[in-house]
Protein backbone atom coordinates (compact mmCIF):
# COMPACT_ATOMS: atom_id res chain seq x y z
CA UNK A 1 0.00 0.00 0.00
CA UNK A 2 2.66 2.47 1.17
CA UNK A 3 1.09 5.87 1.45
CA UNK A 4 2.04 8.80 3.66
CA UNK A 5 0.55 12.23 3.44
CA UNK A 6 -0.08 15.21 5.66
CA UNK A 7 -3.38 17.05 5.86
CA UNK A 8 -3.43 20.77 6.43
CA UNK A 9 -5.97 21.64 9.11
CA UNK A 10 -6.62 23.62 12.29
CA UNK A 11 -6.09 22.52 15.88
CA UNK A 12 -9.47 22.07 17.55
CA UNK A 13 -8.30 22.19 21.14
CA UNK A 14 -8.72 25.89 21.82
CA UNK A 15 -9.72 29.20 20.33
CA UNK A 16 -6.20 30.05 19.11
CA UNK A 17 -6.73 27.64 16.24
CA UNK A 18 -3.08 26.95 15.43
CA UNK A 19 -2.17 25.61 12.00
CA UNK A 20 -1.40 21.89 12.08
CA UNK A 21 -0.70 19.01 9.74
CA UNK A 22 -2.13 15.59 10.54
CA UNK A 23 0.22 12.81 9.47
CA UNK A 24 -1.59 9.96 7.73
CA UNK A 25 0.19 6.65 7.16
CA UNK A 26 -1.81 4.15 5.08
CA UNK A 27 -5.08 5.90 5.88
CA UNK A 28 -4.51 6.06 9.62
CA UNK A 29 -3.66 9.25 11.48
CA UNK A 30 -0.41 8.70 13.33
CA UNK A 31 0.81 12.12 14.38
CA UNK A 32 0.67 15.91 14.30
CA UNK A 33 3.16 18.43 12.96
CA UNK A 34 2.98 22.21 13.27
CA UNK A 35 2.25 24.05 10.02
CA UNK A 36 5.57 25.80 9.48
CA UNK A 37 4.31 28.56 7.20
CA UNK A 38 1.15 29.49 9.11
CA UNK A 39 0.91 33.29 9.15
CA UNK A 40 0.01 33.54 12.82
CA UNK A 41 1.36 30.46 14.56
CA UNK A 42 4.54 30.18 12.49
CA UNK A 43 5.27 26.55 13.29
CA UNK A 44 4.68 26.69 17.05
CA UNK A 45 2.16 24.59 18.99
CA UNK A 46 1.37 23.93 22.64
CA UNK A 47 1.46 20.44 24.11
CA UNK A 48 -2.22 19.89 23.34
CA UNK A 49 -1.75 20.76 19.69
CA UNK A 50 1.21 18.38 19.36
CA UNK A 51 -0.99 15.56 20.65
CA UNK A 52 -4.31 16.50 19.07
CA UNK A 53 -4.37 13.34 16.92
CA UNK A 54 -4.59 11.15 19.99
CA UNK A 55 -8.28 11.55 20.69
CA UNK A 56 -9.36 10.59 17.19
CA UNK A 57 -9.28 6.83 17.75
CA UNK A 58 -9.87 6.99 21.49
CA UNK A 59 -12.23 4.30 22.77
CA UNK A 60 -13.98 6.80 25.02
CA UNK A 61 -14.81 9.20 22.22
CA UNK A 62 -18.52 9.89 21.72
CA UNK A 63 -19.60 9.26 18.16
CA UNK A 64 -23.38 9.17 18.66
CA UNK A 65 -25.66 11.33 20.80
CA UNK A 66 -26.60 9.81 24.13
CA UNK A 67 -29.91 10.27 25.89
CA UNK A 68 -30.45 9.67 29.60
CA UNK A 69 -33.39 7.40 30.29
CA UNK A 70 -34.09 5.98 33.77
CA UNK A 71 -30.75 7.36 34.96
CA UNK A 72 -28.78 5.59 32.24
CA UNK A 73 -27.18 6.96 29.07
CA UNK A 74 -28.20 5.11 25.90
CA UNK A 75 -27.25 5.75 22.28
CA UNK A 76 -29.79 7.45 20.07
CA UNK A 77 -30.05 9.00 16.60
CA UNK A 78 -29.45 12.69 15.87
CA UNK A 79 -33.13 13.11 14.87
CA UNK A 80 -34.34 11.77 18.19
CA UNK A 81 -31.76 13.75 20.19
CA UNK A 82 -32.63 17.04 18.49
CA UNK A 83 -36.34 16.31 18.85
CA UNK A 84 -35.90 15.67 22.57
CA UNK A 85 -33.88 18.86 23.14
CA UNK A 86 -36.26 20.99 21.07
CA UNK A 87 -39.34 19.70 22.92
CA UNK A 88 -37.80 20.35 26.32
CA UNK A 89 -36.48 23.80 25.39
CA UNK A 90 -39.91 24.75 24.04
CA UNK A 91 -41.58 23.60 27.23
CA UNK A 92 -39.16 25.55 29.43
CA UNK A 93 -39.52 28.65 27.26
CA UNK A 94 -43.34 28.52 27.45
CA UNK A 95 -43.41 27.84 31.16
CA UNK A 96 -40.67 30.20 32.41
CA UNK A 97 -39.90 32.58 29.50
CA UNK A 98 -36.88 32.77 27.14
CA UNK A 99 -34.59 34.38 29.74
CA UNK A 100 -34.69 31.17 31.77
CA UNK A 101 -32.49 29.63 29.07
CA UNK A 102 -28.78 30.28 28.64
CA UNK A 103 -26.54 29.19 25.79
CA UNK A 104 -22.87 28.34 26.33
CA UNK A 105 -20.71 27.96 23.30
CA UNK A 106 -17.15 26.88 22.73
CA UNK A 107 -13.77 28.08 21.55
CA UNK A 108 -13.43 24.76 19.77
CA UNK A 109 -16.08 25.82 17.26
CA UNK A 110 -15.35 28.13 14.37
CA UNK A 111 -16.10 31.83 14.33
CA UNK A 112 -18.99 31.15 11.95
CA UNK A 113 -20.49 28.43 14.14
CA UNK A 114 -20.31 30.72 17.17
CA UNK A 115 -21.99 33.48 15.17
CA UNK A 116 -24.82 31.19 14.13
CA UNK A 117 -25.22 30.04 17.72
CA UNK A 118 -25.62 33.52 19.19
CA UNK A 119 -27.99 34.39 16.34
CA UNK A 120 -30.03 31.31 17.12
CA UNK A 121 -30.15 32.13 20.84
CA UNK A 122 -31.30 35.69 20.16
CA UNK A 123 -33.63 35.18 17.22
CA UNK A 124 -35.05 31.71 17.93
CA UNK A 125 -34.93 31.36 21.71
CA UNK A 126 -35.28 35.09 22.30
CA UNK A 127 -32.64 35.79 24.94
CA UNK A 128 -29.34 37.60 25.25
CA UNK A 129 -28.05 34.93 27.64
CA UNK A 130 -25.12 33.77 25.53
CA UNK A 131 -21.68 33.07 26.92
CA UNK A 132 -18.53 31.28 26.01
CA UNK A 133 -16.15 28.79 27.61
CA UNK A 134 -13.29 31.28 27.46
CA UNK A 135 -15.16 33.40 30.04
CA UNK A 136 -16.62 30.70 32.24
Amino acid sequence: MLSYETILTTCTYCGCGCGILLEVLDGRIIGTLPQKDHTITQGGLCIKGWNVHQFIYDQGRLKRPLVKRDGKFTETTWEEAIEEVATKLNRIKEEYGPDSICGLTSARCTNEENYIFQKWMRAVIGTNNVDHCARL
Binding site: L2, S3, L8, E23, L25, G43, W50
Partner: protein, 258 residues
Protein backbone atom coordinates in the same frame (compact mmCIF):
# COMPACT_ATOMS: atom_id res chain seq x y z
CA UNK B 1 13.68 7.08 -10.05
CA UNK B 2 10.07 6.06 -9.40
CA UNK B 3 9.50 4.79 -12.92
CA UNK B 4 12.74 2.88 -12.97
CA UNK B 5 11.88 1.32 -9.59
CA UNK B 6 15.10 2.56 -8.02
CA UNK B 7 12.95 3.62 -5.08
CA UNK B 8 9.37 2.73 -4.13
CA UNK B 9 8.62 6.28 -3.05
CA UNK B 10 10.14 9.72 -2.54
CA UNK B 11 9.53 11.80 0.57
CA UNK B 12 9.41 15.50 -0.26
CA UNK B 13 7.04 18.45 -0.19
CA UNK B 14 3.94 18.98 -2.25
CA UNK B 15 1.92 22.11 -2.74
CA UNK B 16 -1.44 21.94 -0.98
CA UNK B 17 -3.71 25.02 -0.90
CA UNK B 18 -0.63 27.12 -1.57
CA UNK B 19 1.41 25.59 1.28
CA UNK B 20 4.34 23.21 0.92
CA UNK B 21 3.64 20.18 3.13
CA UNK B 22 5.35 16.80 3.55
CA UNK B 23 4.16 14.10 1.14
CA UNK B 24 5.33 10.66 0.05
CA UNK B 25 5.30 10.49 -3.75
CA UNK B 26 4.66 6.93 -4.91
CA UNK B 27 3.70 7.60 -8.55
CA UNK B 28 5.51 9.75 -11.08
CA UNK B 29 2.14 11.21 -12.10
CA UNK B 30 1.93 12.89 -8.67
CA UNK B 31 5.18 14.76 -9.17
CA UNK B 32 3.32 17.68 -10.77
CA UNK B 33 2.57 18.85 -7.23
CA UNK B 34 6.23 18.61 -6.17
CA UNK B 35 7.64 21.81 -4.64
CA UNK B 36 10.80 22.86 -2.95
CA UNK B 37 10.63 25.95 -0.81
CA UNK B 38 13.76 26.44 1.22
CA UNK B 39 12.13 28.72 3.76
CA UNK B 40 9.61 26.05 4.81
CA UNK B 41 11.55 23.36 6.63
CA UNK B 42 10.04 20.10 7.88
CA UNK B 43 11.97 17.25 9.56
CA UNK B 44 11.67 14.88 6.59
CA UNK B 45 14.30 12.44 7.84
CA UNK B 46 12.44 12.11 11.13
CA UNK B 47 9.19 11.47 9.26
CA UNK B 48 11.03 8.79 7.29
CA UNK B 49 11.65 6.83 10.52
CA UNK B 50 7.90 6.38 10.99
CA UNK B 51 7.47 5.17 7.42
CA UNK B 52 10.51 2.88 7.58
CA UNK B 53 9.30 1.31 10.81
CA UNK B 54 6.25 0.03 8.96
CA UNK B 55 8.05 -0.67 5.68
CA UNK B 56 11.59 -1.71 6.61
CA UNK B 57 12.19 -3.46 3.28
CA UNK B 58 11.22 -0.60 0.96
CA UNK B 59 13.85 1.65 -0.49
CA UNK B 60 12.72 5.26 -0.14
CA UNK B 61 14.14 8.49 -1.54
CA UNK B 62 14.21 11.58 0.65
CA UNK B 63 14.96 15.21 -0.18
CA UNK B 64 17.84 16.46 1.96
CA UNK B 65 19.66 19.71 2.61
CA UNK B 66 22.99 19.79 4.38
CA UNK B 67 21.44 19.52 7.84
CA UNK B 68 18.98 16.79 6.78
CA UNK B 69 21.89 14.74 5.45
CA UNK B 70 23.75 15.16 8.72
CA UNK B 71 20.68 13.95 10.57
CA UNK B 72 20.51 10.92 8.25
CA UNK B 73 24.06 10.06 9.27
CA UNK B 74 23.11 10.29 12.95
CA UNK B 75 20.01 8.17 12.33
CA UNK B 76 22.03 5.49 10.49
CA UNK B 77 24.60 5.48 13.28
CA UNK B 78 21.91 5.04 15.88
CA UNK B 79 20.07 2.30 14.01
CA UNK B 80 16.94 4.33 13.34
CA UNK B 81 17.22 3.96 9.55
CA UNK B 82 19.05 1.49 7.32
CA UNK B 83 21.54 3.06 5.00
CA UNK B 84 20.86 0.74 2.07
CA UNK B 85 17.15 1.55 2.22
CA UNK B 86 17.50 5.31 1.89
CA UNK B 87 18.44 7.31 -1.18
CA UNK B 88 19.26 10.93 -0.39
CA UNK B 89 18.30 13.49 -3.01
CA UNK B 90 20.55 16.43 -2.21
CA UNK B 91 19.54 20.06 -2.53
CA UNK B 92 21.89 22.94 -1.62
CA UNK B 93 20.72 25.92 0.41
CA UNK B 94 21.02 29.48 -0.87
CA UNK B 95 23.72 31.77 0.54
CA UNK B 96 20.97 33.82 2.11
CA UNK B 97 19.59 30.88 4.08
CA UNK B 98 23.12 29.72 4.97
CA UNK B 99 23.85 33.15 6.43
CA UNK B 100 20.62 33.25 8.37
CA UNK B 101 21.26 29.77 9.76
CA UNK B 102 24.97 30.47 10.42
CA UNK B 103 25.46 27.11 8.77
CA UNK B 104 28.88 25.55 8.57
CA UNK B 105 27.84 23.12 5.86
CA UNK B 106 24.86 24.46 3.87
CA UNK B 107 24.89 21.62 1.34
CA UNK B 108 24.71 17.82 1.26
CA UNK B 109 27.62 15.75 -0.09
CA UNK B 110 25.99 15.35 -3.50
CA UNK B 111 23.57 17.78 -5.08
CA UNK B 112 21.13 17.23 -7.91
CA UNK B 113 21.05 20.78 -9.10
CA UNK B 114 22.08 24.33 -8.13
CA UNK B 115 25.17 25.86 -6.58
CA UNK B 116 27.03 25.25 -3.34
CA UNK B 117 26.70 28.15 -0.90
CA UNK B 118 29.77 29.19 1.07
CA UNK B 119 30.05 27.73 4.60
CA UNK B 120 29.44 30.28 7.33
CA UNK B 121 31.44 30.20 10.52
CA UNK B 122 29.76 32.67 12.81
CA UNK B 123 29.53 32.14 16.54
CA UNK B 124 28.55 35.72 17.34
CA UNK B 125 25.25 34.48 18.79
CA UNK B 126 27.12 32.49 21.43
CA UNK B 127 29.81 35.11 21.99
CA UNK B 128 27.17 37.72 22.69
CA UNK B 129 25.95 35.71 25.70
CA UNK B 130 29.43 34.57 26.72
CA UNK B 131 30.68 38.08 27.25
CA UNK B 132 28.04 38.82 29.88
CA UNK B 133 29.24 38.61 33.51
CA UNK B 134 28.39 35.26 35.08
CA UNK B 135 25.49 36.46 37.18
CA UNK B 136 23.89 38.25 34.26
CA UNK B 137 24.43 35.27 31.98
CA UNK B 138 22.68 33.04 34.52
CA UNK B 139 19.78 35.47 34.74
CA UNK B 140 19.59 35.66 30.95
CA UNK B 141 19.20 31.90 30.62
CA UNK B 142 16.88 31.56 33.61
CA UNK B 143 14.54 34.21 32.25
CA UNK B 144 14.59 32.52 28.86
CA UNK B 145 13.93 29.05 30.34
CA UNK B 146 11.23 30.52 32.57
CA UNK B 147 9.11 31.22 29.48
CA UNK B 148 8.94 27.51 28.61
CA UNK B 149 5.41 26.10 28.30
CA UNK B 150 6.68 22.51 28.15
CA UNK B 151 5.20 21.77 24.75
CA UNK B 152 8.07 19.40 23.96
CA UNK B 153 8.04 20.90 20.46
CA UNK B 154 11.82 21.32 20.49
CA UNK B 155 12.14 17.58 21.04
CA UNK B 156 9.27 16.46 18.81
CA UNK B 157 10.55 18.28 15.75
CA UNK B 158 14.23 17.37 16.24
CA UNK B 159 15.56 15.08 13.50
CA UNK B 160 18.21 13.76 15.88
CA UNK B 161 15.85 12.89 18.79
CA UNK B 162 14.36 9.42 18.63
CA UNK B 163 14.45 7.69 22.04
CA UNK B 164 11.11 5.96 22.81
CA UNK B 165 11.42 6.93 26.46
CA UNK B 166 12.63 10.49 26.71
CA UNK B 167 14.68 11.77 29.66
CA UNK B 168 12.59 14.93 29.59
CA UNK B 169 9.66 12.82 30.77
CA UNK B 170 11.62 10.83 33.33
CA UNK B 171 10.25 11.84 36.70
CA UNK B 172 13.42 10.73 38.48
CA UNK B 173 15.35 13.38 36.56
CA UNK B 174 12.85 16.18 36.09
CA UNK B 175 10.07 16.92 38.52
CA UNK B 176 6.79 16.34 36.68
CA UNK B 177 3.71 18.54 36.76
CA UNK B 178 5.14 22.05 36.99
CA UNK B 179 4.89 24.96 34.63
CA UNK B 180 7.41 26.12 33.60
CA UNK B 181 9.10 22.72 33.91
CA UNK B 182 11.91 22.42 36.44
CA UNK B 183 14.51 24.92 35.22
CA UNK B 184 17.28 24.98 34.24
CA UNK B 185 17.36 21.15 34.51
CA UNK B 186 14.79 20.58 31.75
CA UNK B 187 16.73 22.52 29.14
CA UNK B 188 20.14 21.41 30.32
CA UNK B 189 19.10 17.79 30.09
CA UNK B 190 18.10 18.25 26.50
CA UNK B 191 21.32 20.12 25.77
CA UNK B 192 23.42 17.40 27.37
CA UNK B 193 21.56 14.69 25.52
CA UNK B 194 22.02 16.46 22.20
CA UNK B 195 25.69 17.29 22.80
CA UNK B 196 27.05 14.63 20.45
CA UNK B 197 23.97 14.28 18.26
CA UNK B 198 22.79 17.82 17.46
CA UNK B 199 23.37 18.54 13.79
CA UNK B 200 22.57 22.23 14.27
CA UNK B 201 19.55 22.50 11.99
CA UNK B 202 17.71 24.99 14.19
CA UNK B 203 14.31 23.33 13.80
CA UNK B 204 13.96 23.28 17.61
CA UNK B 205 14.24 27.03 17.87
CA UNK B 206 11.81 27.51 14.97
CA UNK B 207 9.30 25.25 16.75
CA UNK B 208 9.53 27.00 20.11
CA UNK B 209 6.32 29.00 20.57
CA UNK B 210 7.96 31.03 23.34
CA UNK B 211 10.94 32.20 21.30
CA UNK B 212 13.52 30.61 23.61
CA UNK B 213 16.90 30.54 21.84
CA UNK B 214 17.40 26.83 22.48
CA UNK B 215 19.61 26.36 19.44
CA UNK B 216 22.06 28.84 20.90
CA UNK B 217 22.39 26.60 23.94
CA UNK B 218 22.86 23.45 21.85
CA UNK B 219 25.40 25.22 19.64
CA UNK B 220 27.38 26.13 22.72
CA UNK B 221 27.41 22.51 23.90
CA UNK B 222 28.16 21.24 20.41
CA UNK B 223 31.10 23.62 20.20
CA UNK B 224 32.40 22.36 23.56
CA UNK B 225 32.22 18.76 22.27
CA UNK B 226 34.10 19.83 19.14
CA UNK B 227 36.79 21.67 21.11
CA UNK B 228 37.19 18.91 23.71
CA UNK B 229 36.87 15.76 21.62
CA UNK B 230 37.28 17.02 18.06
CA UNK B 231 33.93 15.42 17.32
CA UNK B 232 31.26 16.85 15.01
CA UNK B 233 27.89 15.04 14.89
CA UNK B 234 26.58 14.13 11.45
CA UNK B 235 29.96 14.23 9.74
CA UNK B 236 31.45 10.80 9.81
CA UNK B 237 29.29 7.71 9.71
CA UNK B 238 31.90 5.43 11.22
CA UNK B 239 32.75 7.63 14.16
CA UNK B 240 30.66 7.13 17.30
CA UNK B 241 29.75 10.00 19.59
CA UNK B 242 32.11 10.60 22.54
CA UNK B 243 29.27 10.48 25.06
CA UNK B 244 28.35 6.97 24.10
CA UNK B 245 30.66 5.45 26.68
CA UNK B 246 28.34 6.86 29.33
CA UNK B 247 25.96 4.14 28.24
CA UNK B 248 22.65 5.80 28.99
CA UNK B 249 21.05 3.15 26.84
CA UNK B 250 19.64 5.37 24.15
CA UNK B 251 22.16 4.09 21.63
CA UNK B 252 21.20 0.47 22.07
CA UNK B 253 17.56 1.02 21.30
CA UNK B 254 16.23 -1.22 18.58
CA UNK B 255 15.36 0.93 15.59
CA UNK B 256 14.58 -0.31 12.08
CA UNK B 257 18.29 -0.47 11.34
CA UNK B 258 19.19 -3.17 13.82
Amino acid sequence: MLDENIVSAILGLKLSHGHPIPFLFTKSSELGKWVFDESVRYPLTKILIKIAQKYPDQKIGVVVRGCDERSLIELFKNYQLQKDKVIAIGIPCSQDLANRCRCERPFPSEIEDGEFAKPVEDYSDIEEVEKLPEQERFLYWMSQFGKCIKCYGCRNICPACFCPSCTLEDENLIKPGGMPPEIPIFHLHKAYHMADRCIDCGLCEEACPMGIPVRRLYRKVKKAVKDLFGYIPGENEDEKGPLEFLGDGSYELPGTGK
